[in-house]
């Protein structure tokens, strides 16, 4: 990786970045191929780093299939697996998968798939399905689309999944085995759930554990003890919230008008607005050890930001660190590949690979 060409390209990029005021520089690394191209769906990339095995798992959705790729650190050795959406009782139509995401709990990691028919949960390598939950079929069938979407592990023992009717299903996950049960249904949203996030940073008592977002742009903030209770609601302002993250009591939300907004989780107060992208934001991710935030949108850009809290005023701050353009690609998924945010990956509509970048 130290050929003359690379060195020259690196120098040029450094000069350009410094001129633009970047504080962090990333360079493109070897892409990971996928068996099928990615579909245009929100949050369409999930990443599971396995540090002890020096492997990284990637998952992206295409139609009724989920492509899993397991890559070595240098990206040279990749193995693949594909999972299918379960048809459901009467196989009258093929079920489209809306999202696939790994949920990390203290005792186990599950891979969760949401589709038009229901929710499937697998062991983390996708080898065995451990649970299936069918969505209620509407009788009589209406013009409204029916699907599950929005996946997050919460409070070390739950997996929360959203539905097109605005419900959030809370599943109780035992430390091993298949005895997974639906323990609660949260009913506060009136529009389809788009994304769910749980607190990935510090969580003092009484603070928010979970935030749920919907198609209208409304956000609900929850606290969980034995059950979930609503802390506060953040009203919509006319644009879909497609992706949401929660870190150290700060909510980061990405919207269809390309804006990122930061809110105080306990009060719901707006703390920052960023006109971040020229098109619909499809993905946000947060690196919990550093507070780095990334956003990916249909405008072909991944933007890297840094969140912080001023020690004097307590004000939430955000600064721009880096831009990366994936030429001619409408991004649909983007994630950090490590908890410090030293590397990230992205995929886009019709793209049969996962592009990766690492910090220089």
């Amino acid at each position: 990786m130290s050929s003359p060409c690379d060195a020259r390209a690196l120098t040029t990029r450094c000069a350009v970045s410094m001129a633009a005021g970047d504080t962090g520089m990333y360079r493109k690394e070897r892409s990971v191929p996928l068996k099928s191209s990615s579909s245009a769906l929100y949050n369409n990339l999930s990443v599971l780093p396995l540090r002890d095995k020096q492997l990284t798992y990637f998952a992206a959705v295409h139609g009724s299939t989920v492509s899993l790729a397991s890559a070595s650190a240098d990206g040279l050795s990749v193995s693949h697996r594909q999972l299918q959406a379960k048809e459901g009782g009467l196989a009258v139509s093929a079920s489209i998968v809306t999202q696939a995401s790994w949920c990390v709990l203290p005792s186990r990691v599950l891979l969760v798939l949401t589709s038009q028919k229901g929710i499937q949960m697998y062991e983390s390598d996708g080898s065995i399905m451990v649970y299936w939950h069918a969505l209620d079929v509407l009788e009589p069938p209406s013009a409204q689309a029916v699907f599950a979407r929005g996946i997050a592990a919460a409070s070390g023992r739950f997996i929360c999944v959203g539905t097109s009717s605005g419900l959030v299903l809370v599943f109780d996950i035992p430390s091993k085995g298949t005895n997974i049960t639906l323990s609660e249904v949260l009913q506060e949203h009136h529009d389809s759930i788009t994304d769910i996030a749980s607190e990935v940073g510090e969580n003092p008592d009484g603070a928010a554990d979970l935030v749920t977002a919907d198609d209208s742009g409304a956000l609900c903030v929850w606290r969980s003890k034995e059950e979930f209770s609503l802390l506060t609601k953040i009203s919509a302002f006319g644009w879909t919230c497609s992706s949401v993250k929660l870190w150290n009591g700060v909510i980061a939300a990405g919207y269809g008008n390309g804006q990122i907004r930061l809110y105080e989780a306990t009060s719901g107060a707006l703390r920052a607005t960023v006109s971040a992208h020229a098109r619909w934001i499809y993905a946000l991710d947060l690196a919990p050890l550093t507070g780095k935030l990334l956003s990916g949108a249909e405008d072909s850009y991944v933007q890297i930001w840094k969140l912080s809290r001023s020690p004097d005023t307590g004000d939430i701050e955000i600064e721009h660190c880096h831009s990366e353009c994936v030429t001619d690609t409408q991004l649909c998924g983007a994630r950090f590949c490590d908890p410090e945010g030293n590397s990230f990956a992205a995929t886009g509509y019709d793209l049969s690979e996962i592009v990766r970048y690492g910090q220089v």
Binding site: S37, V92, D191, G258, D315, C325, Y349
Partner: protein
């Protein structure tokens, strides 16, 4: 799409052109057909859509050979993919549709009856879709994009205009006006706990964007502002497509054709009802009928038919009248109205079951 193409056929007279145009538009916009289209239903499979398209193309006395039909369909598909993909806002797919309808209305401006039909459809579209939210439009757009996934047929006119790369992928500009409702990227505003703005920082996002001028009109008449969906052939252009070389992502494409289609039965019922509204025109003995060849010579057309890559061939549903009475009377009646088309892959011997007939192709 083929309405635009037809305008350019030099050998036809204006009278011919008008007649074929009127016939096709009348058929497309007839009440029964439109009623079926407006019913809530799942996205059609590629087979199903191609069948409907074939039927529409035969709604006048114009005829196309398999190769020209394939090419026309390729063009239409890639043009539509382009329009859906590049919509600045998801709601703009409605503006694109209105652009299509505006153009159609212009073709038939001298025929008040057909004009009424089109206006009626326009009103129905406005009624049904104007109140959808941005999120719902995005879901429609995302579903349409699944349909077009992995299609990278190169279209000459797109290559020349530099909207498509030589690998078949569309160029996505990172400059120009942002969509209506979006701010030009570059500003961070931070607020204290009382809601007062305390800090303002600008940053470079990488693109070169400007504010939009105005919003397009969603009324029956109005300036749509958006250019997507307007006549691609307003300046005389070649009508060529190129099959891409071995595509690496064909795995998913072939899988769709090979897997048993659970959608089949339900979809056939929709199709049958849809077709029931489409009248077929048979050329009289005295009339020669008009043939549209999208290639420069007949030989080229034949050659194209023979050399079309297997994975890119469309499996058209060939619905024929069967000998046994179908249980569904309605289906039988509609089937009785169908013309037997002269497709080279026609199978006459086996298959009483409609599904079996589909799978044979």
């Amino acid at each position: 799409m083929f309405l635009f193409c037809m305008l350019r056929v030099d050998e036809w007279t204006d009278v011919d052109r008008k007649r074929v145009m009127n016939d096709i538009i009348t058929t497309m916009f007839n009440k029964k057909f439109m009623e079926e289209l407006f019913k809530p239903q799942e996205l059609y499979s590629k087979k199903a859509l191609r069948t409907v398209y074939d039927r529409l193309a035969h709604a006048s006395i114009m005829r196309l050979n398999q190769a020209s039909m394939d090419k026309l369909y390729d063009l239409m598909t890639m043009a539509f993919k382009y329009q859906v993909l590049l919509c600045p806002r998801p709601k703009d797919i409605l503006l694109v549709t209105f652009n299509h309808l505006d153009a159609i209305k212009d073709f038939i401006r001298d025929s008040p009856n057909i004009l009424n039909q089109v206006d009626e459809t326009f009103r129905q579209l406005i009624d049904m879709y104007s109140c959808l939210s941005a999120g719902e439009f995005q879901l429609i757009r995302q579903t349409l994009l699944i349909f077009f996934q992995d299609m990278h047929i190169r279209v000459s006119i797109f290559l020349k205009d530099k909207v498509q790369n030589s690998n078949g992928r569309f160029v996505l500009p990172i400059s120009g006006p942002v969509p209506w409702g979006t701010e030009v990227p570059g500003l961070i505003r931070m607020f204290n706990c009382n809601g007062d703005e305390v800090k303002r920082v600008e940053f470079t996002n990488g693109g070169n964007y400007i504010s939009p001028q105005r919003e397009g009109s969603f009324d029956l008449y109005g300036d749509r502002v958006l250019k997507l969906g307007t006549n691609m052939y307003s300046v005389s252009r070649p009508v060529e497509t190129h099959m891409s070389g071995a595509s690496k992502t064909l795995a998913s494409h072939t899988k769709e054709n090979a897997a048993p289609n659970p959608l089949a039965k339900e979809e056939l019922n929709f199709l049958a009802r849809l077709m029931g509204g489409l009248e077929i025109k048979k050329p009289n003995g005295s009339e020669p009928g008009f043939r549209l060849n999208l290639f420069t010579t007949d030989e080229e057309e034949e050659h194209a038919a023979l050399t079309r890559p297997e994975e890119l061939s469309y499996k058209v549903i060939n619905i024929q009248a069967t000998q046994d009475q179908q249980q569904n009377e309605e289906l039988a009646r509609i089937m009785g109205e169908f013309e037997v088309t002269d497709q080279p892959r026609q199978s006459t011997s086996k298959g009483d079951d409609l599904l079996a007939m589909m799978d044979e192709l």
